[in-house]
């Protein structure tokens, strides 16, 4: 039973990674850039939810909606101000800019909210489900996290495959030039991608902060890097890849913590990544890209 407990909480952690990884993978797929400030959007979303709940006493669901709206706008503004002017620049310039944006957000948060760690309130639920005469306890939060992840995956897959904007996004991911020749506005499409990724980051923020209830300006960096790893692990650019990579990473991390070593868990997670990339450089579900001359 304890194994099952670890597995389920690993699944929940993995769901959060997967939701964050979607932001990395979609932005990479369409803008062909690694948005290293993505983790810090999580942090920003966390603070918005925190203040909405603790200072203004708004109900939990409203805090989440506010957090999503704020992060979405923040993500789009960052793209417009920092990345759009670099559309024709080398990928290295864009990468360095993204790291700069990440530090900017962390320091701005420090300035505004202080660098002390805040306790994130239980805004969603704090109950739990007891099964098998109390031998197996699953918190409602764990269930909410996993269900949210499933809903997001189904919703996003439907959006990408069935709607006109979704198909345009896929077209941009495949061939930006050809997509423009169809009359697709590349800038709008990239903005939509950032908006979706950032909105999802806010959802991840609330789930993450509710599971590990502490909030600080550097909150986003570790889950950000883990989710980025998950995206690469699953095959960057691939949405099912982000799901698979996130879930596997969460489970591996949790089981390692439980059975091998808490200190070594991150090292083991990254070792697994390196091994996978050595065997399959494009990640688990990644496709080989044809380089055109």
């Amino acid at each position: 039973m304890t194994f099952l407990t670890y597995l389920i909480s690993g699944l929940a952690l993995g769901s959060v990674y997967a939701i964050i990884a979607l932001g990395y993978t979609m932005v990479y797929g369409i803008a062909k850039m690694l948005n290293f400030a993505h983790g810090d959007i999580i942090m920003a979303g966390g603070y918005v939810a925190f203040y909405a709940f603790s200072k203004f006493g708004l109900p939990g669901y409203l805090c989440i909606i506010l957090s999503i709206i704020f992060s979405t706008i923040l993500g789009v503004i960052i793209e417009r101000l920092a990345y759009k002017p670099l559309r024709a620049a080398s990928s290295l310039s864009v990468l360095i800019t993204a790291i700069g944006v990440s530090y900017f957000l962390q320091n701005a948060a420090q300035l505004m909210f202080g660098s002390d760690t805040k306790i994130f309130p239980a805004m969603l639920t704090d109950g739990s489900l007891k099964l098998f005469n109390g031998q197996l306890t699953i918190s409602y939060l764990t269930i909410i996290t996993i269900v949210t992840c499933i809903i997001i995956m189904v919703g996003l897959t439907t959006f990408i495959n069935k709607t006109k904007i979704g198909k345009a996004m896929r077209a941009c991911a495949e061939d930006k030039g050809a997509a423009q020749l169809m009359g697709i506005n590349l800038n709008t499409t990239i903005s939509i991608t950032f908006a979706i990724g950032s909105g999802l980051a806010a959802i991840a923020a609330v789930l993450l902060c509710s599971t590990y209830p502490s909030l600080s300006p550097t909150l986003g960096s570790m889950p950000g890097i883990k989710a980025f790893t998950a995206a690469v692990f699953g095959g960057i650019g691939s949405i099912p890849g982000a799901l698979l990579g996130g879930i596997l990473l969460g489970i591996i991390e949790n089981l390692t913590k439980a059975y091998i070593s808490t200190q070594l868990s991150d090292a083991i997670v990254f070792t697994v990544l390196i091994v996978v990339l050595l065997i399959k450089p494009t990640g688990l579900l990644g496709k080989k890209e044809n380089v055109k001359v």
Partner: protein, 234 residues
């Protein structure tokens, strides 16, 4: 319809197009012929707004479009069927065609045009649910042309439609180009296959290392001694 004036296009310091001028009148098929690297594709990309000119203008019905965004140019009636077709390999044939109609909102008209494209290219209808990437080269060319037609263009830019196709297919593709033109769409055709291109073009320009070196009616160039030697193999 389309008028290119003293167009200069640079990649960094390298001048790919060194001041060319040409025009396509209403209902014409005009062809640009020239060897690899002459600047044909650069010209097409500049007209479509994927590249910006260093100087000079591109006019569509008297309006300068050289600073207009690429997606707006499609809306204004210029469709391009690009070199190497560049179809969306992971999306179905039908979705590829519907992406061609991306700028339009008239649902019923789009369905009507979709049926017309299927009438023009029956093979696309047979394969409408298949991913575009699974089609053969000839079918992909048909898909790229159908996709361009779906935007209801006033003028269609065709970049190397014969590339990599068997002589029989080339013939078929060119007869369809003629048919599209007969239905009222002006055509700017870029080709290395000079013989085919000149045989259907009303007028033609020869482009060499970024400059237009000769122009005339398709027939004139087809019978010209220089063209014969340089492009038609003797």
């Amino acid at each position: 319809m389309l008028k290119v004036n003293d167009l200069v296009v640079r990649y960094g310091v390298i001048e790919a197009i060194k001041g060319i001028s040409f025009e396509v009148n209403d209902g014409e098929i005009v062809t640009l012929i020239g060897a690899n690297g002459a600047g044909k594709t650069t010209t097409m990309h500049t007209i479509s707004g994927l590249l910006r000119p260093y100087s000079g203008t591109v006019e569509l019905d008297g309006v300068d479009i050289s600073k207009v965004a690429a997606h707006k140019i499609v809306e204004m009636g210029v469709a391009q069927c690009p070199e190497r077709r560049r179809i969306f390999a992971s999306q179905s044939v039908e979705d590829n065609l519907l992406l061609g109609a991306y700028t339009r909102n008239d649902k019923e008209e789009i369905q009507k045009d979709l049926r017309n494209v299927y009438k023009l290219f029956p093979r696309l209808e047979e394969r409408r649910k298949q991913p575009g990437g699974t089609l053969s080269g000839g079918e992909q060319q048909m898909l790229a042309m159908g996709r361009a037609l779906m935007s209801k263009p006033k003028i269609m830019l065709l970049d190397e439609p014969s590339m990599g196709l068997s002589p029989l297919l080339v013939k078929e593709i060119f007869s369809i180009i003629k048919e599209i033109n007969d239905n009222g769409t002006s055509i700017l055709l870029v080709e290395q296959n000079a013989k085919m291109a000149l045989s259907i073009a009303k007028r033609a320009y020869v482009i060499e290392t970024g400059r237009i070196v000769m122009s005339g009616t398709g027939e004139e160039l087809l019978n010209s001694e220089d063209i014969r030697k340089a492009y038609l193999g003797g």
